[in-house]
């Protein structure tokens, strides 16, 4: 009874907070400056920067990313929000101009990580407490959901928070006496996260904090998403997988790359057919951007043509992607944004790969209408919870895709099924919950609204059969006397030589006989 009352109270506080605090900030906050001290690649710090970019982009904020060292005085004036990210506490922020500008800044401010300055603590109206050598548990207020965190060296948490502070998640120490500190906290326009992780329950709480801070708090069910599908994936397994999910009544999404040519190959027809089956089994397709290799600032047209042909070739085969899926670094690149991403209004943001090949990096993230934050489902595997695991699914603060890597063997497919059963979420249904999306390639536009596909504005259905596209005749090179001469010359010489060799052999034999006969007669 008491716990029920607590939950209701929490909900009331949450909703009220969202309505009150949110609306004020939302009206003006659009441009956010993300300032980090160091990429700290040795400790995978660059992933944290990328994950923060993804969260902010998914909240429909326009993000500019900058290293603190590159900050120039006065820059902040053009922004409505600033996120300070400490990736390498030993180095810290040393740019005086930034610190000065930030202290005078009156927009939304978020501090992530260590080195919380006393000025920032004052803004938050709380007392900072340093924790040393602790292994903490992150849990919700009711302690019904919790995840054990890795051991941490030092961490600054807050105590004596002012009333009206909204808290997302609590950190409980394991020693005696047990202490509980807030994880994410939002006081007015100031937010604080003592540490940041790119996945798991920490990420959920962090997104909740950030969404609250920027007034964009929502409640979303996660979308089950299969990633790393390519035309070279094991299509039989993908077929089994989609059949299984349809059978379980789980809607899902597939993020796949494709090829821009050879659409007449049997292999492509088979690939497209598998994707059509996905579409007919309650799945939606995200078109994954290609792998970038030796790109330069001149690669724009190539990318444009390639993406056009991806969309056209898929649409010809009744595969209608509902958006683009890509790594967040594509949004930090002028060329990739312009020629790759701006053809759609819905993007699924995935983590960055190990190797980032930029064509024209500018760190100016663009804003898209509809966004999904992709996070590996496996990072929730260690989340422990009471009976209400399914309810956890409601707590995602922004549209989230829980990603599973495409299985590569029947064993990994079985493993996938087991994991889906264990998670037991109430998954998002694109047909019901996804906004109207569109994707353009050349003169072809595919759109998705309430579970229906539209091709160039006309409603269309997806069949399960193989589609025969009109096959064009091979283009023959123009015949001129030169070409003809060389083709004839080749054959002529071939025949000439063949004949000559035969005659030559005959002559040798003949000559040999005559020569020997000459001796015989003399005898």
């Amino acid at each position: 009874m008491r716990s029920l009352r607590k939950i209701i109270m929490l909900l009331v506080v949450l909703v009220a907070g969202t309505l009150l605090g949110g609306r004020v900030a939302q009206a003006q906050t659009t441009r956010v400056l993300l300032v980090y001290d160091s990429q700290n690649v040795a400790n995978n710090g660059e992933r944290k920067v990328a994950a923060m970019q993804r969260i902010l982009t998914s909240l429909k904020l326009t993000v500019k990313t900058q290293a603190a060292a590159d900050y120039q005085a006065g820059t902040l004036r053009a922004y409505q929000g600033v996120v300070t990210m400490i990736n390498w506490p030993q180095v810290g922020l040393e740019n005086a101009a930034f610190l000065r500008d930030r202290s005078q800044f009156n927009g939304v401010q978020l501090h992530v990580g260590a080195n919380l300055t006393s000025a920032e603590a004052r803004h938050l109206g709380a007392t900072p407490v340093k924790l040393y050598h602790q292994q903490l548990i992150l849990q919700n207020r009711q302690k019904t959901v919790q995840q054990l965190l890795p051991f941490s060296d030092t961490m600054t948490v807050l105590r004596d928070l002012p009333t009206g502070t909204r808290v997302a998640g609590y950190l409980q120490s394991q020693g005696q006496p047990k202490q509980r500190y807030p994880y994410g906290s939002v006081t007015g326009k100031f937010g604080y996260l003592p540490y940041f992780k790119t996945d798991g329950y920490s990420l959920m709480m962090a997104t909740q904090t950030i969404a609250q801070l920027f007034g964009r708090q929502g409640h979303y069910q996660p979308l089950l998403t299969i990633t790393k599908v390519t035309p070279y994936s094991n299509l039989a397994l993908l077929d089994q997988l989609s059949r299984y999910l349809a059978h379980q009544g789980i809607p899902f999404a597939v993020s796949t790359t494709t090829v821009g040519e050879n659409g007449h190959f049997k292999a492509f027809k088979r690939f497209a057919k598998t994707l059509r089956l996905v579409e007919n089994r309650g799945g939606v397709i995200f078109l994954k951007t290609p792998v970038a290799g030796g790109v330069t600032a001149k690669s724009g047209q190539t990318l444009n043509q390639l993406m056009d042909s991806y969309v056209i070739q898929l649409a010809q085969n009744q595969v209608y992607p509902v958006g683009i899926s890509t790594s967040i670094f594509w949004n930090q690149d002028r060329l990739y944004r312009q020629y790759g991403l701006k053809r759609t209004n819905q993007i699924l943001w995935l983590p960055n790969p190990a190797e980032l090949n930029y064509a024209a990096q500018d760190n100016q993230g663009a804003r898209f209408d509809h966004n999904l934050y992709g996070v590996a489902a496996s990072s929730f595997a260690t989340v422990q919870s009471g009976p209400a695991l399914g309810k956890l699914g409601l707590d995602f603060a922004l549209p989230t895709a829980l990603t599973f890597t495409m299985p590569n063997s029947s064993r990994s497919l079985a493993n996938f099924k087991r994991r889906v059963q264990q998670l037991n979420y109430e998954w998002a249904d694109p047909a019901q919950q996804m906004a109207a999306t569109h994707l353009t390639g050349g003169s072809t536009t595919v759109a998705y609204r309430h579970g229906n596909y539209f091709l160039n504005g006309m409603a269309t259905t997806v069949t399960n059969q193989t589609i025969e596209t009109a096959k064009l005749d091979a283009i023959k090179p123009a015949e001129n006397w030169m070409n003809r001469f060389f083709s004839i010359q080749g054959n002529f010489l071939l025949i000439f030589f063949a004949v000559t060799v035969v005659i030559f052999a005959a002559f040798i034999l003949l000559g040999r006989r005559i020569y020997l006969n000459k001796f015989k007669r003399h005898k």
């Binding site: 790393k228 390519t230 035309p231 070279y232 994936s233 094991n234 299509l235 790359t257 494709t258 090829v259 050879n262 007449h264 190959f265 049997k266 292999a267 492509f268 088979r270 690939f271 290609p290 792998v291 970038a292 290799g293 030796g294 790109v295 690669s299 190539t302 990318l303 390639l306 590569n408 060389f486 010359q489 080749g490 054959n491 010489l493 071939l494 030589f497 063949a498 000559t500 060799v501 030559f504 052999a505 040798i508």
Partner: protein, 498 residues
């Protein structure tokens, strides 16, 4: 002056010219002038980096100078940096090329600079080795006749091997210039032995073995050449008074075989992956309308048909990272050498088309993919040299583009030289015997290098992989012409003419 006096004067002049400027010296002088003008007179010419230079540069302590524009494909880069401290790069391949590069670096450090490397020093090393080989080759082709027509032969040597398409390679970090010189040395050594140019034989036999070993190890794709060079060496068994040295000769042949084997085995793992991938995407999947079905039949997932013409390192964008674990685990482990051979054996028509594709590229020796000029010359990016490229242009345009033709040509040449072999065997001479095995060995290069290139790397970089083909057929062409001119095609040389 009477006609008789004029004639005598002419004859005396002729003798003087022949004495002072014999055909080999004539050829070397001309080649030296042509190549020297091309490579050393500023603005210099050479070959631009196609992205392969780094393999040679870093392992030999050379790096791209910082703060300067480094051009791939478009322009030749003249100046590089020399590492001053410990060099952590290790060679990924077992190769003889570093010997030549190290020599160039040494000369550069002695005479030019300790910090900046000028590509012309690489050119100097290649140039010197090349001129030596031109001398020996011309000498071997013309010895011992003192006739004016031997100047024609020398002229032909210059026309063929002085061609800029070969000498442009000098100013580059490609292994081809060394391959050219070493092939010429090996060829000339056997021919000089056959023609008894020198009293002592062992220096020539040693020259043959050393240049063969260096040639085989020069590039990993040269490993199969060991077999061709062993065929050439068989002829040496027929040398008279050679019994005692036969054991040594067998030893030498074993050395060649082991060198070839080592070169093949020690190919870096990365290169094995690159080659298997390109063999697949640029070979197995090409020259066919839809490879899906054929793949499925050969036991590989038909979906990989969509990799047609993809590069291992994506030029710009790719559907999948070919150097990633997925492709390695699911495709490359399957399409090994045995699989490729079996595939081609069951798809002969496709293989034939690929061989014709190779045959079409055989005589095109100028590397069209990269520029030949430095940027300072003001030439447009990727500009090709046309100076003294007559032979390569004509041969490239008119040599028949059918592989079957090459086979027949090889057969005809073997038959021609078999006659000399038979006659000399009967007559107790050995010139024709050595020459026959020489021609046979080099013809195996002519025929099998395209086959191996197709099986080993598909049509990727085909023109460059075929480098040994034009060199070997050019050598045989020169031999054939010189034998005809000196009337020694059918039998060993007889003093006084036919």
């Amino acid at each position: 002056m009477s006609v008789g006096q004029l004639k005598r004067l002419g004859a005396r002049c002729g003798t003087q010219i022949k004495r002072l400027l014999p055909p080999p010296v004539f050829a070397v002088l001309l080649c030296a002038l042509l190549a020297g003008f091309l490579c050393f007179v500023p603005p210099i010419n050479g070959l631009a980096d196609n992205g392969d230079f780094y393999r040679v540069m870093y392992t030999n302590g050379i790096y791209k100078l910082l703060g300067t524009d480094y051009h791939y494909f478009d322009y030749v880069t003249q100046k590089f940096g020399l590492m001053k401290y410990y060099n952590e790069y290790r060679s990924v391949n077992f190769s003889s090329q570093p010997l030549f590069v190290r020599l160039a670096v040494l000369l550069n450090k002695l005479f030019y600079s300790k910090t900046v490397f000028d590509i012309r020093w690489m050119g100097v090393v290649n140039y010197a080795f090349y001129l030596g080989s031109i001398y020996l080759l011309t000498d071997a082709l013309t010895y011992p006749v003192k006739r004016w027509r031997n100047y024609v032969i020398a002229g032909l040597v210059v026309l063929v091997f002085g061609d800029s398409s070969f000498t442009l390679y000098f100013n580059s970090f490609f292994a081809e210039p060394q391959m050219l010189s070493l092939t010429l040395y090996a060829f000339a050594a056997i021919l000089l032995l056959a023609r008894q140019r020198y009293r002592r034989r062992w220096p020539l036999v040693l020259l043959y073995v050393v240049s063969s070993v260096l040639l085989i190890t020069s590039k990993s794709q040269n490993a199969p050449l060991a077999l061709s060079l062993i065929v050439v060496a068989i002829g040496l068994f027929f040398l008279p008074r050679f019994k005692a040295q036969r054991v040594a000769l067998i030893g030498a042949m074993l050395v060649l075989l082991v060198t070839g084997g080592l070169t093949y085995i020690l190919i870096g793992k990365e290169f094995v992956d690159i080659n298997s991938y390109q063999t697949f995407s640029h070979g197995v999947l090409t020259q066919t309308d839809d490879p899906s079905k054929a793949l499925a039949k050969s036991g590989v997932d038909q979906q990989y048909a969509l990799m047609q013409n993809q590069d291992y390192y994506a030029k710009q964008f790719a559907t999948i990272r070919a150097n990633g674990p997925y492709v390695k685990h699911n495709l490359l482990n399957q399409v090994d050498f045995g699989w490729v051979v079996k595939y081609y054996a069951t798809h002969l028509k496709q293989f034939g088309r690929l061989l014709d594709l190779a045959a079409a590229d055989v005589m095109i020796t100028q590397v069209k993919a990269v520029g030949d000029y430095v940027q300072a010359s003001g030439a447009p990016p990727g500009k090709q040299v046309t100076f003294f490229t007559l032979y390569s242009q004509v041969a490239g345009a008119f040599f028949p583009q059918k592989f079957a033709f090459n086979c027949l040509l090889a057969l005809a040449l073997i038959m021609v030289y078999a006659v000399g072999f038979y006659n000399d065997l009967k007559a107790g001479a050995f010139e024709g015997i050595l020459r026959f095995f020489l021609v046979l060995g080099y013809l195996t290069m002519f025929i099998f290098v395209p086959v191996i290139s197709i099986i080993g790397d598909g049509d990727a970089d085909l023109a460059k992989h075929l480098f040994m083909v034009p060199v070997s057929i050019d050598l045989i062409f020169l031999l054939f012409v010189s034998d005809c001119l000196n009337h020694r095609l059918w039998h060993a040389y007889r003093k006084g003419g036919a």
